[in-house]
């Protein structure tokens, strides 16, 4: 019974998920549980399977077996856009913004599924179309303000710096109003100041907006400061889970990271 109630308290449950590409087992029997309101980090050396796990949750990759539950709904087999509409936001590791659009349009496009008007209304831009566009623009403006993007609102994303693009990537995911946000290496390639800003934004998103955050990150300082729970993947397998303190003292984790240095 104890196990059942523990599982029920998870917002996102990954159970014995495996994925392989050809012969390569990208992840093997990985299980984890994320509680609502947490900042939950996933770390591990390059190629450990972290992004692959996110892609399984988002429905971009299909797990060979296992189960992924979000609020009790099985995600495996569901179309990616349906999974997103359940409230799972995603900020990509390699920036995947819509290159031809401005910052504003990128964020607005993340709100498409919140707008219900149809083609005929759109063609005449009348009634519910105009109302919903204005209402969603309002919400997007809140996100723009939240992440201090006011000055680049109308800028095409391609002309922004790398650090800014990363921030827009996060903003776009947040604009979906997700219940849980999957953030893949938000500070990679950033300078110190940008890293600190990003850390602040992640904390604010978690605390003020109450969004659960699942974070993949190589920056140990950031992971240790922010997370409540940390899971470590190595060669597609989960080797440890615990609080930041427990993880930094875990001999197997140390070995995985030191081992990586040597090879």
């Amino acid at each position: 019974m104890a196990i059942v109630s523990r599982e029920a308290s998870f917002q996102l449950t990954v159970k014995e998920v495996s994925v392989s590409f050809g012969g390569i087992k990208a992840i093997q029997d990985v299980s984890l549980g994320v509680r609502p309101g947490q900042i939950y980090s996933i770390i591990g050396p390059n190629g450990a399977g972290k992004t692959t796990l996110f892609n399984c949750i988002s429905g971009i990759y299909h797990a060979d077996h296992g189960s992924i539950l979000f609020d009790g709904v099985e995600l495996i087999g569901m179309k990616p856009h349906k999974i997103t509409q359940l409230g799972i936001g995603r900020a990509f590791q390699n920036i995947e913004l819509f290159k031809g659009m401005t910052v504003l349009d990128n964020l607005m496009s993340a709100r498409s599924f919140h707008m219900s008007y149809g083609l005929l209304r759109a063609a005449f831009y009348l009634g519910s179309c105009m109302a919903q566009e204005a209402q969603n623009r309002d919400l997007v403006e809140d996100v723009i303000e939240f992440l201090d993007l006011q000055h680049v609102r109308k800028t095409p994303v391609m002309s922004l710096s790398y650090g800014m693009q990363k921030r827009v990537e996060l903003a776009r995911a947040l604009a979906m109003e997700p219940k849980i946000l999957l953030v893949d290496e938000p500070v990679s390639g950033m300078n110190l100041e940008e890293r600190e800003d990003m850390a602040r934004y992640l904390i604010d998103i978690n605390e003020e907006k109450g969004v659960t955050v699942v974070l993949i990150e190589h920056d140990m300082g950031l992971v240790m400061d922010l997370s409540e729970t940390v899971t470590v993947l190595n060669f597609g397998m989960k080797i440890a889970e615990g609080t930041p303190g427990e993880i930094s003292e875990n001999p197997e984790v140390i070995k995985a990271y030191l081992g990586e240095v040597h090879t």
């Binding site: 856009h81 031809g100 005449f124 403006e141």
Partner: protein, 345 residues
Amino acid sequence: MGRKFKTSYQQDSALFQNLWVKSWLAIAIVVLCVLPFVLKPYELSIMNGIGIAVIGALGLNLLTGYTGQISLCHGALVGIGAYSTALLSANLGLHFLVSLPLSGLMAAALGLIVGVPSLRLKGLYLALGTLAFGFIFEYVILHWNLTQGEMGLAVPRIQFASFVVETERHFYFLILITAALATLAAKNIARSKIGRCFVAICDRDIAAEAMGISLTKYKIMAFGISAFYAGLAGCLLAHYQQWIVPGNFDLMLSISYIAMIIMGGLGTVLGSILGAGLITLIPHGIVYLTDAFKDVWPGLSGLIVSFKLGVFGLVIVGTLLFEPRGLFGIYQRIKVYWKTWPFKY
């Protein structure tokens, strides 16, 4: 917050954003209304050709320019619109105002079917799939007795009560009104969530899905809208020509539509209009030139048809090489130049 910004948001997404656009629009409207009273019938017929092409090009641009889905059967969908209205108005006696939307819907229905392979195929494979649809269409209208094969169909005149649409000037206004409405609708669709979903799919389809956008729904919708526009263009063309044959809707027509949107500017409404204008003018320009040189080089006029294809090919390749954003790109550069004049930067 928010409420107080509301008026400024609406200005943001307004159809015509600034004085520059508004003044050009006003000039264009005045010119378009004066033209039929100053142009000769031959020149008006060119304008009518352009107007019909604008409608078709808007549709193809929503599909190819905005959504990034290639189609080599746009001409066939124009043909479906044309044959629909010919059959509906001759056999069932439907009024033009009824057969116009029906032709659009007929083409849209087939467009939806053409769109299904796009869920699986991309790029070259999709091009081949749509090409096959074009050939099937040609085969069917050539062999189905309802469409009378090579001989083609007569298309009844359009009549509003006792008023018969017959002169170039009558058609001019009919086509102008339809094209203006089609442009307005395209512009609105482009700035709505639907337009954003189209561009999102074109730019990065995996990210679009991860943002909750259904690829199936919006790709199929793009094919449907695009075909609807093609159907409207075909319906007008049929009534305007009064007689349609399968040869009107061959691969050449599809390719000229592609040339229009590439030349004009992919993913822009204005580009569709500019491109439709230019590509429609080119054959007339060629005829004009061969006429001028007919004494010097009499054999030239026999080459017109192959000439046209070659010129379209050159136009497409040239645009892609020198100004990938097409006429729209040139327009934007001129605009920036004048706005910042006399400062160069």
